[in-house]
């Protein structure tokens, strides 16, 4: 083919021509094949230059054009358009860079010219192979997303919304306003920041087409310009829009943490509004995470809540909070195995909080002070539910169902109610009068109790059905003692632990001799041993086959037993029991040693050969484990009615607790095996929800009742919440120990052993709580909220939003001056960062706008230090632009509000903007001392730290050439403005770049400061670089204008320099799919070929190089084009 190429060499003024002999290059290139015309001109990009090209295209019928000039980054688009207007397809143009690649980097004229010749020749050879390409268009979604609700985001959102288009304003804090809302007055006009900002904030809140999403962050961005799909996560606010901002909740909240809005100088409660003029004007609850004590509880009791209330001396409220969610609070306060304490984060500091004892304290107090806790109002329903078993599982289920309004009947086979609470746990741990009070409360809820009714004997499932019970909950416990499996076990005088305790608790005469052995190491064994003592046994010994470390009983129980005189023998087990006389038993025992771990993870006991020996006892109590009684779970012929697990427990569905029989649910020990009170209650609660769904004919899925999730252990370098010191830095405090009855005296009867906390003990112990996660769910706010706006069980929501363009206006972070330890920030009193001082100046700050030192007195002299972290080789090399001006502002305000002397320490005074110089002069006239010199250090005055001194600023005054030590009362630092901490993550999300100093990179620093290299993504404000409010607003408006222009055009051009799969060559290997950095390649399952999305493709060429079949072509970068370019350079 014979292309007709026009070649134009640009002088670019002297930029190129000074180093490259352009005439020579023209001369050379005009002699090359296919070059129809070759010219040179001073400025090809100018009007005459472009006209020249267009005239030549017409005159010489050129079908290819080469311009040798600057970088394609600068003017490729310019010349492409020029060619297009001249009638030539714009992709038949090639740019040769002989400026950045040649004249600007070389000095030697001869060599530079030779290089320029090669570059131009290469372009000429290449352009011959270029093909015309057509630009494609995509539609633009007219919705826009603005990320960041500071002044930039607010202004841009308002400008865009003015056109009637929709804007999504996404802000990660609970209010918009950004850093500007923290300022007092702004330079140089001394406008009050709130006065100019809040009306805009209100507008944002009111406009129907601005969708304000606070507490929200962008999680994922997919798509391309005009068609983005953004995933936004909105954190739960826990307060809905019924809030009238009355503030009653703030008064009721017991937790206080530093306020981020006040730069950690002030405090605010867990439920709060960042500042009075916040938009949206609704409170928010700071719940970083659910406190571990609440998470660990099977019935989700708000442990942290009632501990906080006790700490605040609100004992009545604490008792009410406990009773709200716990149907057996008195029981739990005494016998629960407290998983809350096991997970209590205080354990990382010293010891976990005594949550159980505090619970008991609150209830004891309420009882003593006759606090009446009324049952809630219940709307009755007609369905009847039968609960078999009045233990903790049955009672919890009964409670929850009764509160929902169902007609609940509890059937108990014994004459006493309470299950293991009455028949297992001894009275010295759980006084019976308290258990009776619990049952009385449940009766007030309308629950009917029927004793001496036994499933399988006096009633059965059929009968219950006929009597109209629509659902049954089986909570029959695990009352069958597991046998040892040794000969003689069935001798007279041998009891099983559960059976023994049941007899004693029912008042049945239980003959017991003086010497009693208890086999086992669990709580049942301990209870049996201590009960035996109280029944008159003189020598009680526990024999356990492993060591103390493996004993499942609670360590405190073991200690109490030993204090009472129970002897515990380890690594010993019986092999045979023989009756030697009417009153004594001989137990043959062997010693054990520990071998490899077994299935439970504990080391397996192995008998030591030859260690058999005999021991004499009057009675033996076997308490090694319990199982549910199989007879109850079987029919008359002994066939099991239900599915049974290999461990002998009842099989149920894990989530719904339903058995294999419809309408029959089960929970408690019958399902778990010998477990704990609270775990059984948890299942009872879940069963109630499940039965409720069943009776309403709903599917048994999506349960809301809490099941504790495993809690990941943390280390001592974690912290309870972000405002708290690390666990390792918190001061140590001892846990208050529970006082008990004297061990010598107490084993005589069944009086309660633990005495309970006194008020002082309770207050002291409660003060150790760390308020993990900030909000402790004490629910006081709910109580005082008239409109009922508080929803503690709100959860985060995630939504996908379709937008056409996005604007990032995420602002800046302040440099942490503690890094420059010579200035004493964080160590010395009265050294403040700029934002901390702004908060002090603000009327909504801690001092109401007064300038005061820590000791409450006004300062006599203030130092303002410029460039803290800016213009610094060790930190940020750039200038933060606003500090000189706001320092002058501070100087003025200090002079205005105090009598203090002002000293400013500067390097250069930058007062470049409109009105800035005037302001500078005014402040100088007011009499500030302006010293040119970098401050070396800020130290405390005086050598001895006994006197309350002031600060000394040590610096060099370079204009008078002297070293100075200036006494001041307060030092204000001008911290640098830095990129946000998460700038790197943000830039990845939005596929943009960062400048070397970490701010977002603009497309062109002069000509396009608010666009990025990524089409459809714009930036504005300090996230692009430090700037003041006027410049920020200007950038926001500029970005908004650009966005609106695209919305107006409704479509955008797509560059056709993209990759394309030649389907007939594609083998379907899909290697290209995974290498594309823009995720533009997918696989067509029907055609079995890879497909490239031309809109997402950026033409990087990775897939072209990857394809093993050479099936992908890079349009505009074909092999022929590239090879001919290389040839052109070498020839």
């Amino acid at each position: 083919m014979n292309p007709k190429i026009g070649v134009y060499i640009c002088h670019c003024g002297t930029n190129i021509a000074a180093t490259v002999d352009v005439e020579e290059v023209v001369d050379f290139i005009s002699k090359q094949p296919n070059v129809t015309v070759a010219r040179n001109y001073l400025f090809m990009c100018s009007q005459p230059g472009q006209d020249m090209i267009q005239r030549d295209i017409e005159k010489w019928k050129l079908d290819r054009v080469v311009v040798a000039a600057c970088s394609p980054q600068m003017h490729e688009l310019t010349f492409r358009r020029a060619c297009e207007e001249g009638g030539l397809n714009r992709y038949l143009f090639q740019m040769a860079n002989i400026r950045e690649h040649c004249s600007w980097i070389h000095d030697d004229r001869a060599q530079a010219t030779e290089k320029a010749r090669a570059i131009v020749n290469a372009a000429v050879r290449r352009v011959a192979w270029q093909e015309p390409l057509e630009v494609s268009h995509v539609k633009i979604n007219p919705h826009t997303m603005v990320v960041g609700g500071g002044i930039a985001g607010i202004h841009a959102a308002l400008e865009i919304a003015e056109s009637g288009n929709h804007v999504y304003l996404v802000e990660k804090e609970s209010t918009i306003g950004g850093h500007m809302a923290q300022f007092d007055k702004t330079f140089p006009t001394l406008d009050c920041a709130a006065c100019i900002l809040t009306p805009k904030m209100v507008s944002v809140g009111h406009r129907k087409n601005i969708h304000l999403l606070t507490l929200s962050e962008v999680e994922k961005v997919k798509g391309f310009v005009g068609n983005f799909t953004v995933t936004v996560r909105t954190k739960a606010r826990y307060v809905n829009d019924k809030c009238t901002v009355c503030g009653a909740c703030v008064k009721a909240c017991p937790v206080e943490v530093p306020s981020w809005f006040d730069e950690m100088q002030g405090k605010r409660t867990a439920i709060y509004k960042a500042f009075p003029q916040a938009v949206p004007n609704i409170f928010v609850i700071d719940k970083e995470e659910i406190p571990p004590c609440i998470e660990a509880c099977p019935i989700r009791q708000e442990a942290a809540g009632y501990v906080a209330l006790i700490r605040d001396k609100k004992f009545k409220e604490a008792a009410q909070l406990i009773r709200l969610r716990n149907p057996l609070p008195e029981v739990c306060g005494r016998v629960c195995y407290h998983p809350c304490e096991t997970e209590c984060n205080r354990g990382y500091v010293d010891q976990p909080l005594a949550i159980q004892h505090l619970k008991r304290f609150a209830l004891d107090w309420a009882r003593k002070n006759k606090v009446e806790i009324k049952p809630p109002k219940i709307e009755k329903r007609e369905e009847k539910v039968a609960i078999i078993g009045s233990g903790p599982a049955g009672l919890a289920c009964a409670h929850d169902l009764a509160v929902k309004g169902y007609q609940v009947s509890v059937f108990e086979r014994h004459s006493t109610l309470g299950g293991m609470l009455a028949l297992g746990i001894p009275a010295y741990r759980l006084p019976r009068n308290l258990l009776n009070e619990e049952i009385e409360y449940l009766e007030k809820l309308g629950i009917a109790f029927r004793t001496n009714v036994s499933l399988g004997k006096t009633t059965n499932l059929e009968q219950l059905k006929r009597q109209g019970y629509k659902a049954v909950f089986l909570a029959i416990g695990a009352y069958s003692g597991v046998s040892l499996g040794v000969k003689g076990e069935d001798s007279n005088g041998v009891y099983y632990g559960v059976g023994f305790l049941r007899r004693v608790n029912l008042g049945i005469r239980t003959p017991l001799g003086k010497k009693v052995a208890v086999i086992g190491g669990g709580n049942t064994a301990l209870d049996a041993a201590r009960t035996a003592l109280r029944l008159g046994a003189e020598r009680v010994a526990i024999l356990y086959r492993r060591t103390r470390a493996e004993m499942p009983a609670s360590p405190l129980e073991i200690e109490d037993a030993e204090a009472e005189g129970v002897a515990i023998h380890y690594l010993i087990a019986p092999t045979k029991i023989t009756r030697t006389s009417p009153v004594s038993l001989q137990m043959t025992c062997v010693n054990m040693e520990l071998g490899e771990p077994d299935a439970s993870g504990r080391r397996r006991p192995i008998p030591v050969p030859g260690s058999e020996h005999n021991l004499e006892f009057d009675n033996i109590i076997v308490a090694i484990s319990q199982r549910p009684e199989m007879e109850v779970l079987s029919d008359q012929n002994g066939k099991p009615l239900f599915a049974i697990t290999p461990w002998g427990t009842l099989q149920v569905d894990q989530d719904s607790l339903v058995t294999n029989l419809e309408g029959v649910f089960a929970g408690g020990d019958v399902v778990l095996g010998p477990s704990t009170v609270i775990a059984s209650m948890g299942l009872g609660r879940r069963a109630a929800e499940s039965i409720d769904k069943f009776l309403n004919r709903q599917p048994l899925v999506n349960f809301k009742t809490h099941m504790p999730k495993p809690i990941v252990p943390r280390g001592e370098t974690f912290r309870p919440h972000r405002y708290s010191p690390m666990y390792k830095d918190l001061p140590r405090q001892k846990r208050i120990e529970m006082r008990k009855l004297d061990p010598d005296k107490r084993a005589k009867d069944f009086s309660e052993v633990e005495l309970g906390f006194s008020v002082e003990e309770a207050l002291q112990e409660a003060s150790r709580c760390l308020n993990c996660g900030v909000c402790v769910e004490c629910l006081e706010c709910v109580k005082v909220c008239d409109p009922g706006a508080i929803e503690h069980d709100m959860s985060d929501s995630v939504q996908e939003i379709q937008v056409g363009q996005m604007l990032l206006a995420t602002g800046f972070d302040l440099f942490d001056a503690q890094v420059m330890s010579q200035y004493g920030h964080g160590k010395l009193d009265n050294v403040l960062s700029s934002l901390e001082f702004e908060r002090m100046l603000s009327a909504t700050g801690g001092t109401g706008g007064k300038i005061l030192c820590q000791n409450g007195k006004p300062p006599r002299a203030i130092a303002i230090i410029h460039c803290v972290g800016s213009r610094d080789e060790n930190h940020h090399k750039y200038c933060s632009r606003v500090c000189c001006m706001y320092s002058l502002k501070y100087a003025h305000l200090v002079k205005d509000r105090t009598q203090a002397e002002v000293y400013q320490f500067y390097i250069d005074m930058r007062a470049y903007g409109k009105g800035f110089e005037e302001f500078y002069k005014r402040v100088l006239h007011e009499g500030s001392n302006i010293i040119r010199g970098k401050v070396a250090e800020v130290v405390e005055s005086g050598w001895s730290n006994k006197e309350e001194g002031h600060l000394i600023v040590r610096c060099e005054d370079t204009l008078i050439g002297k070293f100075r030590e200036i006494p001041v009362d307060m030092v204000i630092l001008c911290n640098a403005l830095e990129p946000r901490q998460d700038a790197a993550r943000m830039r990845q999300l939005f596929s943009i770049s960062l400048s070397p100093d970490g701010f977002f990179l603009e497309r062109h620093p002069k000509l396009d400061p608010t666009a990025t290299m990524t089409d459809g993504v714009f930036i504005a404000g300090c996230c692009q670089g430090p700037k003041d409010i006027p410049d920020t607003v200007a950038q926001a408006a500029s970005a908004a204008a650009r966005i609106l222009a695209f919305i107006q055009k409704a479509e955008v051009e797509l560059d056709p320099i993209v990759a394309q799969v030649q389907e007939e060559l594609c083998s379907g290997c899909r290697m290209c799919n995974s290498v594309c950095p823009y995720l533009a390649i997918s696989f067509d399952e029907e055609k079995k070929v890879s497909v490239i999305n031309q809109a997402l493709c950026k033409g990087c060429g990775t897939c072209v190089a990857t394809c093993p079949a050479n099936a992908i072509i890079g349009k505009g970068f074909t092999n022929q084009q590239i090879f001919s370019e290389i040839e052109g350079v070498l020839v």
Partner: protein, 292 residues
Amino acid sequence: MKYLYYPGCSLESQAKAYDLSLRAVFKLLGEELLEIQDWNCCGATAYMSVKETVAFSISARNLAIAESMGGEVVAPCSSCFTILNKTNRYLKEEPALRSLVNQALQSGGLEYKGGVVIRHPLDVLVNDVGVEVIKMHTQRDLAGLKIAPYYGCQLVRPERGFDDREFPTTMDDLFSELGGKIVYFPVKVRCCGGMLMSTFNEVGLKLTKEILECAQENQADVIVTTCPMCHFNLEAYQKQINRKFGTNFQTPIWYFTQLLGWTLGASDEELGLKYNFINLPKEKLGRALEAV
């Protein structure tokens, strides 16, 4: 760990006490100190500004010898410590300089590859040996002796070293563990004036006076230091300072190894106490621990 001892010129002369007490401390703790063979001047002189490459070569000769011996260099004098570290860093970071210096070293049959680490004895004693081990060897308790620990400016700056550059605490922690009471001493990293005592005497005297003044106001019994230059300035000019400023300083100045060695039970000779101008009365020094 083999410790290669680089005394430096002042420890052979004016700071003899530092040398003696350092050796005594290491011996009492059972740590071996092997003196670098045929060591020469570290280069902490004005010659660095006159003929830089030559100065670096002279300094690097010590490092080359140390490298061939194998081990970590222990340099007690703050200036030697700073300059040897500076030489080390420059040679590591500038290959052009390194090749020139190695050419010079070659003529002495030496080569420096860049593998030497230079430590200060305070760092070695507190961080390698450890306070727990030191306490196991103590024979005497400081019994509340009021100490002002003076680090001077070259110990923790400019290199990022073993302690904070503005608020170091290594000596504070060491001596409080040994029973001393550390007084409030905010000037602990202020410059004593260094060479300025000779060249700009007024400036030097003023700087030293401030350090002495702070110690005196906080009722320190003794100022403890890690640098021969600081020791000299603080001790030898007290009379001159008293005359010029009307003060009445009589503050004993000890090397930290002297005080540490005393707690380890060393004798007065071993600690070079006779080289201290200003006497610290023995009653103040604390008492012997009961035999365990």
